[in-house]
Structure formats: structure tokens, C-alpha cells
């Protein structure tokens, strides 16, 4: 069953995303709202990963060979300046979007398997991911004009 593989991908992308939020929060300490919100969101992603862990374990015995390129690349460093902030937020957006669609994929399989526990974990995970994307979109929309037009 390939679900186990996907659960592994989801779990990895969640931990990658949490680390990326923390990294961006750290790297943009001069933007207090970014720093604080990234910390809050990272803690929530941690909780999602924790909630998923028992499910990963349950299906883990049926693990197939992992297909190629099923890995989210994280953020090692952050960039400076207004345009750098924009780019880093976009990287977070990309990672969160990958997580988002992976929840969808796993949720579909959970329906097919009638796995109530997993359905519940997915529902709450999807809600949280929507919240991340909403905030990122809001902050990116706010930052873009100033960064691209007026910043030096």
C-alpha cells in the first residue's frame, strides 16, 4: 500500500515546514509580526506532526519502496531586506502548499479506507494549513508593493 509512503512524505513535509517557519521567524526578527506569527504557526505544525505520528506508525509496516523526489526541500537560511522577506514568505507558501495538497491526497485515501482516526487528523490538519496559507498570502500582499516599488 502506497499510503504509508505518502504518510511518510506528509510527516516529513510537516517537520520541514515547522523548521522553515522557525527559520524565517528567526531570520526576520526585525519584523516582530513575522517573528511571532512564525513561532506560533511552527508550534501548531509540530502538534499536527505529533497527531499524525501514531497513524504513520500504524501504516508503517506496509511501507513500499519510496518513489523518487518525494521530498520537500526546507530552508537553510533566510534572506535580508524587504525583497528577501518577500522571497522567504514565498518559500514558506510553497512548502505550505505542498503540505496542503498532501493532506488532500491522504484524506482521500483515509475516506477509501474508512479510517475515522485519520479522517479526523486530516480535517484538523487541513484547517491549520489553510490558516497558514491565509496568513502568508495576507502578509505577502501587504509587503509586495513596498518591496518591489519603493525599497532600496
Amino acid at each position: 500500500m502506497h499510503l504509508a509512503t505518502y504518510l511518510g512524505l506528509l510527516h516529513t513535509s510537516l517537520t520541514t515546514l515547522a523548521d522553515a517557519f522557525r527559520e524565517v521567524g528567526r531570520g526576520h526578527g526585525e519584523e516582530p509580526d513575522v517573528r511571532h506569527t512564525c513561532q506560533v504557526l511552527a508550534a501548531r505544525v509540530d502538534r499536527q506532526a505529533e497527531a499524525l505520528a501514531p497513524v504513520v506508525e500504524r501504516y508503517g509496516e506496509h511501507r513500499e519502496e519510496e518513489p523518487e523526489r518525494l521530498h520537500a526541500t526546507g530552508l537553510d537560511t533566510t534572506r535580508g531586506g524587504p525583497v528577501g522577506l518577500l522571497r522567504d514568505l514565498q518559500d514558506l507558501y510553497t512548502l505550505a502548499s505542498l503540505t496542503d495538497i498532501t493532506w488532500t491526497v491522504v484524506g482521500q485515501a483515509a475516506q477509501g479506507l474508512r479510517d475515522r482516526d485519520l479522517i479526523a487528523v486530516v480535517a484538523s490538519g487541513e484547517q491549520d494549513t489553510a490558516r497558514q496559507l491565509t496568513w502568508l498570502r495576507t502578509r505577502i500582499k501587504q509587503a509586495a508593493p513596498q518591496a518591489l516599488i519603493a525599497a532600496r
Partner: protein, 834 residues
Amino acid sequence: MADRIADIWGARTPHAKDAPWPVRVDLHLDRGLAESDVDRWVQSACVLCSNGCGCDIAVRDGRVVGVRGRASDVVNHGRLGPKGLYGSWQWNGSDRLTRPLVRRGGVLVEADWDTAMDLVVRRSRELLDEVGPLSHGFYTSGQLFLEEYYTLGVIGKAGLGTPHMDGNTRLCTATAAAALKESFGSDGQPGSYSDVESCDAIFLFGHNMAETQTVLWARVLDRLHGPDRPVVVAVDPRRTKVAEAAVESGGVHLAPLPGTNQALMNGLVRELIAHDWVDHGYVAAHTLGYDDLAATVEPYTPEHVAGICRVDPDELRRAARIFGTSGRVLSTVLQGFYQSHQATAASCQVNNLHLLRGLIGRPGCGVLQMNGQPTAQNTREAGANGDLPGFRNWDNPEHVRELAELWNVDPLTIPHWAPPTHAMQLWRYAEQGSIRFLWISATNPAVSLPELPRIRDVLAKDDLFVVVQDGFRTETAEHADVVLPAALWGEKQGTFTNVNRTVHLSEKAVEPPGEARSDLDIFLDYARRMDFRDRDGQPLVTWSDPEGAFEAWKECSRGRLCDYTGLSYDKLRGGSGIPWPCDDEHPEGSDRLYADGVFPTHPDVCEDYGHDLLTGGTTSPERYKAQRPDGRAFLKAAEYAPPPEQPDEEYPFVCTTGRTVYHFHTRTKTGRSRQLRRAAPEPWVELSARDAAALGVTEGDLVRVESRRGRVEAPARVGRGRDGVVFVPFHYGYWDTGGDRHARAANELTATEWDPVSKQPLFKIAAVRVTRIGGGTRPAPAPTTTASAPHDPAGVPATAGEDDVREDVAPTGPPTPPPVPDRTPTVPHPASKG
């Protein structure tokens, strides 16, 4: 005669529930003058807090010589507070800016208006050519007039086309506006001061009303001294007069640890739900989000909350029971919530308590999301802050089109790709150098913004052109490239609106000093010199005086909740202030909103599509519409999250900043009033008795308070606050110190952090350490009449003034409150489900 320094709230006029509040006319005149010496009385309203008390200015020989409350005004029934009595006019003629100043060779030198305005316009044009409108920022006030804000809003949003406009209202009432928008769809106070007369219980959430709105507190005291008195519940870390009244009335004083309000509120909401003190019919018909709210608050048991907030769980239960079982509850909210962590979320929970019980829109059942400044409501209405004029929604293309049509400009001129820039972001852009032109009017950010060391650095930047427009040479003016001398209250004409939507006309009583000009005239002059044009090449700003601006604003407000079309200067003369909405069908205005439980949440009318309370992420128009709010209010929920800065071993205390009754803002006026200055001459640091003992500090000892950002040194008042909390008044800057040691202003300590939704800075939760640095020779200069009273009164002289106020009790009958419309004007009704 009365001493209104010692007796802050004046003589009691007790009355029973549902009986009108009696009149008491307060009068204060310059020494040696009697009423017969006054040449003219000029109608106005007081601008030294947010209450909006109607008053008459006494003029003799072209000078203001006193002030008298207006008996006929629905706001104050003749009363005035100590600031209004003593601080309204004594600054007149002392230390005023009388000529423009321009920076030459590093120093400010006097210049004429042409020279000063030429400099401003030249820099403005250069930057527009080089970068465009995003290089311009405007930071204004909560103390100008409506006409001035609207004119500034049009200049910024349609003339220049910059989104970078905000007011210091961001520091004072942004959360009030945000909480009203999130819950009810639009800014606009649901309740009224007249709810005080009819309530059975009053809840004050982070609102030291006794000091911040003394006349309203006098109104509460008159109920508390009468028969069938209401029960008071106070949420405040200090033992304020409000907290004392709570205990005396059989209510509750909850003193949560600063930064934990959201946990406390979730606990109160949960208790209401757990005991089923819920009007399920009202909730089903008039709200959205009950299930989500109930699920969110479920973990917040009294014991769990007690652990977070460090309050007694039984006291929390008792407070919830009072809310859940009293017939009519009035709630008020202010800076203890607005300037603290999760400000919007916690303030929304106050709205939720009322919605759950259906206590809204009826006598005695008000929610008053208060303001801090007298004209804050107008900044919010007129679009000189982070909102579009007339409570319009930046994310609603139809609303933007309406404005474009009204102003006859291309809709793309009006920035609406995101909400208008909030003040903290505006300063960040200035710090980063993308805003290079910053026009500051009628506010003093060098004292009032958080983290002052940083603000001074920003103001000092070589590539930031700073214009400061003020009546005094403030701490901020010292950093300016151009200083424009402005006329103040009593020297110019205009209208302003208080917390409960009551509009007053303030007439010009005397000439401004020297060459000072009204703020309106300065903005109009800038518009003329910049030659802002509309689509057809006609001047963009079509008015030239206050009344013209007011008439233009009326058109902008037409059909919106803040409808002014039924008002005029003439109508505002002679009687009482009138609360909006006021249109042809409601010519006497509206005392309360939402009597029928229908709210302005329809997607076509709402001011905002809302936010995620935890992150501030904005709800998309599509998602908002999919909820089909159709006139129902939102029960917005959020979990408690720990504040960004908490006490630790290195900085073990929480520092909370705030006001004292005798001063306003940065004391530019009140610090120049003899009586007020004597009552609270210098800053102090308030410690709890136990904390002081542990630190080896006794009354009057000099202490140093340090945060990660800066320090304050002042004498200690061993006071009556909760342990672990240090209080520092925020009024005291440096204009009257002569020195440049920056160790006086409370904002040396505060952090650059803000609420995710309202973007209001967190002034109330800086982590600090306290060190004794020397013995004192006398008690701290903190008033004894208020929350700063000493723990041990022995040896501390009582704060007192002189017998110089006449109080005339019940010379006339009380004014009649305005009517309450059955349906809120301009709010669309959902199609009746037949």
C-alpha cells in the same frame, strides 16, 4: 466651591435605576474672575479624554479664561472632569509655536510660511517623481477635528495615492474598531452612555474608568450611591477605584497576570455555556459560529484559567455567574485589553458574552468598546488612519468605486490592494528607507510609541524628511526638518465624535497665537500648492473652510452606518451633541444600535471580511460570502497563546504602562496647567508592597526599571497592585526636563510588538527587572487619590488642589436621550424567511 483635584468626580447626585441622571453644572474660571466678567461663552466639547463632554469656553478680552459644562448635553449633563476644568485652557499662550521652523545647518530656525511650505512641497514632488506615492507616509492623531482628518484622507488616498496613512489611534483604539468589525461587521458603538442608568451589572475589562473617563465614572457612582445599585466587576491588575467599587458593590475584582486576558475571557465564555446562561433563540437567529466557539473554549475550565492567569477559580466562577444571571449587563473595554496580548481576540470575547445572552441593543445592555482620545472615532470614520472613509471595505471593489466616483478619480488611484498601512509598519518602512517623507500631525511619537530608542533613531535618519505639525515644540518636533505651528482647540472650528457616536461642534473662541494656523488650513494649503486634480482637471479638494469640509464629508458618509447627512453646523449649535447615524429619517440621531439584532455583516455593506484572530490572516471575499452572514453577528473564537515576551529569571516582572487621571497623552496641555502639574508633577514606578519589600525598596526610594530595550529611573510608590506587576505612567517625556538623559518615558521599556488583527502595540506586557539605586527623601510624586494610592498612607501627603470649581446641582432638568431606532439606519435586513 469644590477642590476637583482632591475630589475628582465631584458631588454625588444619586438616583434610582431607570431614572434620568441629574444635571450638575461645573464651572471653573481664572483666579479672581466671576461669571459676570466673561465677555462671551463659546460652544465646544472637551478634548482631554474620549468622553466628549459638552462645554462652553469663557472668553474675556480675546483670551480663554475658563470653562463650564453644558447642562443640556446628553454626554455629561453639565459635568466636567479635572482635566477639562483645569487643563482645557491654561496652556493658552505659554510655550506655543508661533512661527514655522526649518532646519538650517542642523538647527531649527524660524521661517515664514512660504519658505516652510516650499520645502515641504519640493521634497514631496522630488520623491513622487523619483519613487512614487509609496515614499510618502502620514502619521496623524486622535485629537484633530473630523474635517481635518477627512481632508487629509482625501489628500493621501486620492491626491497622492499612498496607503501609508495612520493615526496614533493605532495606539489607542485600533482594537475597539477591530473588535467591532470582527463581531458586528462594522465599526460603530452598539451601546450608549445612557446604559449606565438602566444596567444591573457593569463589567469593566481593562478599563480604569475612574481615571480615564471621570465624568462617565461619576455617572456610575451616582448609580452606586443610589438605591437598586448595580454590581460591578473589574478586570485589572491594579487595585483601581473601579476595583474598589467592584468589591464594595458585592461584585468581583479579577487581577489576571498581564498578557493572559484571552485565557480569562475563554474561561468566562465557557462558564456561560456550561451553565447554559445562553439565549439559544437569539444565538440561532442572530449569530454565526456558536459550535466553533463552544469547542474552542471547552478546555478553559476555571482551574485551568486560574493556573494561567493566577486568579482564584471561584472568583472567576462568581464573575461569570454575575454576567450570566443579571438582567441587564453593560460592558466597557479599554487599554488593559486593547494594549495587551491577543487584544482583538479578548475584546471580541466581550462582544461574545453579550451575544450569547442576547444582551445588546436594549437599555442597560450595552457594549462600549471605548476610545482613548477625544476624536479617535473621526480618524476611524474619515479615513485618515488604516481604514477607508465612511467605514468602507478596502477589499470590496464597489466601495472603492463609490469613493472614486465621489472624488472623481480613477479607482486605481486609491490604494486598495491591502488594508491601509498600520502605524507600526509605517515606521518600519521609514526605518528601512522606503518611506522617505513622513508628515506627523498633532501627535508626539517620540514619547508615545513603543521602544523609544528605536523611534529616535528612525526620526534622526538623514534620508527621512520629517514634517511636524503641532501647537507645541514637542520631543518629536526636535527631530523635524520642518515644523508647522498649528492652532489648537478653541482657536479653530470643527466637529468631533466621542465613544458613543455623539457629534459635537467646537467653535473658534479666540485667535491662534502668532502665525499659527488651523490644521485644516495647513492641509488645504499643501493640497493647493501640490495642485491635486481630479479626473476632469478640476481641483481635487473643493472646500476651503471647516463647514465646507463637513458638508463634503456628509456626502461621503451618506448611506453608511456613520451617516452624518442629517447633521449640520446649525443643528449642532445651541443644544446637545447628536449621535450618528443621523439622516433625514432619523433627524435626532440614534442612541443605540442593533435593537433588532440585525448587524451590518451583509457582504455588500460590511467594513471588513474579517481575520483569523490568531494570526491576523484576512478572510477572502469568497470565503466571507460563503458563510452567508446576512445580518448575523460573528462569535469569533481563538485559543489562548502565550505572549511574545514573558517574565524570566533575568527580567522577572511584567511592566504595564498607563495613565493617571491628572494628565493626558504626553502632557503638552495638562503639564502646563498649574493644578494638574502640581497633582502629578513627575513620573513614578509603582510596585506591590510584597515586591517592594523583597527588593528592599521603601516609599520614595529611587529605582531603576530595565527591559531589553531601555530603562526608566524614578521614585518608587509602594502601591496596591498585584505582585509581579510594575506600573509606570506613560505621560512623562522630556520637553520639561532640560536634560537629554532618556530615562523617564515609560516607552523606553516597551517592545515593538503588536496585535495580529488590530495592529495595536503591546504596551502592557514588557518584561523588566527592578533595582533600587538610592534612598529617597520624600514620598514618590504619585497621586494618592487614584490607583496610585500608597499601600501605607502614613507619611504620604494627600493630593489636593484648591476650592476653585463651582458645582451647581440640578439647576435644570436632565436632557432627554436621543431616540433608539427599531431598525439600525443603513443596515440591510435579510429577506424575511416566510
